[in-house]
Amino acid sequence: MSATADKPTLPPEASYAGMIGRVADPVLERRPGRRWWIGFGATLLLTLGFAVCLAWLFIEGVGIWGINTPVVWGFAIANFVWWLGIGHAGTLISALLLITRQNWRASINRFAEAMTLFAATIAGLFPIMHLGRPYRFYWLVPYPNTMEVWPQWRSALVWDFAAISTYIIFSILFWYWGLIPDLATMRDRARGRIARYAYGAFSLGWRGSARHWQRHDALYRAMAGLAVPLVVSVHSVVGMDFAASLMPGWQETIFPPYFVVGAMFSGFAMVVTLAVLVRRGLGLQAVITERHFDGMGKIVLAGSVAMGISYLTEWFTTWYGGDRIEYEHLAYLFTGDYAPLYYVMLFCNVLVPQILWLGRMRRNIAVAFVVSIVINIGMWLERILIIWNTLSHTHLPSMRHVFYPTFWDWATLGCSIGLFAFLFFCFVRLVPSVAMHDLNKRLHQEKEARG
């Protein structure tokens, strides 16, 4: 990675104005093409579908899903963990790479952060949808009330609530604060009156003053410093939803770090997917280059190896621990009702990404795209299998029951992906998909380096 940091990632002939033009023009100057309209329309339909799923859920109750007496958690929790995992990479890219001065991040951090924002928000919907009485979700908030009761602080769900709401608020602010200088740029480039006013208002009157930049930089870097432990804490807490329990296959100390790694892994995979699409859709080949894919490929590969090690550790400690129920759980993973899915998951998460050891493959954008999709399928399977394998195969054999998804399970998952894509289609038409000020800062550094 450090090699990538030093190596120039931007074309040598690039100019500041050129870079800005490349990023801003697709939003301000070019009309949305046919492909955009098709995508926008299709995802709008899926978004409406999501609304239908929600409405039906609230009318009928959570019984419309496949959850049952022993497997009381199902798609909603898996989707939540999956989306939240995806929602980790954006902040990590921005924050971790900022702190470690991986300035090539400039090309990808904006849409990665937007991805985080959308994914974390969608993730945040699922635990509420999951509730038997969703209209009471605010009882998790500590506020003086006539019932004179408080949240039960020992519950991992309260930690979740604290962590996710903090994370969503933080992500919005972090994304927005990074966006303010670019909004000013947009304000200054926009020709329409409405656009000028809107960008102007949202840029808060930013005028690029040295004082603005100084404070912006101080705040932004401090936030980045906070972001790293925050991101780690958020998925650790999600891991603790499972680990702070008594159930075989959940009660494992490896869960918090394993969840964080998994989140990074799936998040980076989603960044790659989106990078391919944004690059192609907006014609940003000069901004997002093969070098970026090379860098992200290395991170994804590292994530895959870490996942493999996590699985191995899980198997080993179970075998070595010798507890009956844990051992039965391990056997169930490999031979039980969901074993085929477990093998698919291992294939997706551990085997397929190994192709990224080859630099040629890392820089091949088609390969990157396919691998990233495969990984996200694998990571979704991992999340649902964590729930299914444990809850379908609990301590007492009498209460073992397989989960069968219903139409509404699939519809809600599918439509949530549609909603995510819809938000992204809106995003690419409204704000610059790449952080222009960071990009030009990077360009400045590269120019300096070249002398």
Binding site: I20, R189, L204, G208, R215, A222, L226, L230
Partner: protein, 173 residues
């Protein structure tokens, strides 16, 4: 923020701006600022701006938020509404630290945001500098030095910047 007359000198690249800023600083002028499209290393020092205390504010805000949330948990679980929850101790401090941590981060962030807004005076949608011809490129590819010293006029500024080739020198406000 000086509301008076401001001189703006426009440059094509950051290096020249830095040079200009150093000259202005060395000349002992007051009210120096710059308007640039991206963060430039060394610009703060070149202009002689003082350090910012945003991070100190964030630290204080974070610590206070965290302490409050720990206290809230302790108060509600031990004093106000103690219940036997699975036989766990009333003051289950190891797990109380988790919301405490989240509150610390959130508190620090929000304090930082507020401190930023206070110290920059934003949001402020109107400013004399916007009136300057070509100022819209300050957010794109031009680099402006701003001098708001009543003793400095355009001629003095032009003289001071001799050899740096400013694209323009304007007066706004």
């Amino acid at each position: 923020m000086s509301e008076g007359r401001v001189l703006l000198a426009e440059f094509r690249d950051p290096e020249t701006l830095l040079d200009a800023a150093r000259r202005a600083r060395d000349a002992g002028w007051q009210g120096l600022d710059a308007h640039v499209p991206f963060a430039i290393e060394g610009l703060t020092e070149a202009l002689g701006l003082g350090p910012t205390r945003i991070r100190l504010a964030m630290l204080i805000g974070g610590v206070l938020s965290g302490a409050f949330v720990y206290w809230l948990q302790w108060y509600s679980a031990v004093l106000d509404y103690p219940v036997n929850s699975g036989g766990r101790p009333l003051n289950s401090w190891p797990v109380f630290l988790i919301p405490t941590f989240e509150a610390t981060v959130l508190g620090a962030t929000l304090t930082g945001i507020v401190a930023f807004l206070i110290s920059t005076g934003l949001p402020r949608l109107h400013h004399p500098a916007f009136a300057a011809q070509g100022f819209d490129r300050a957010s794109q590819d031009r680099f402006f030095l701003a001098v708001a010293d009543p003793e400095v006029d355009a001629v003095r500024l032009a003289a001071a910047l001799d050899g740096l080739g400013p694209l323009s020198i304007r007066e706004v406000g």
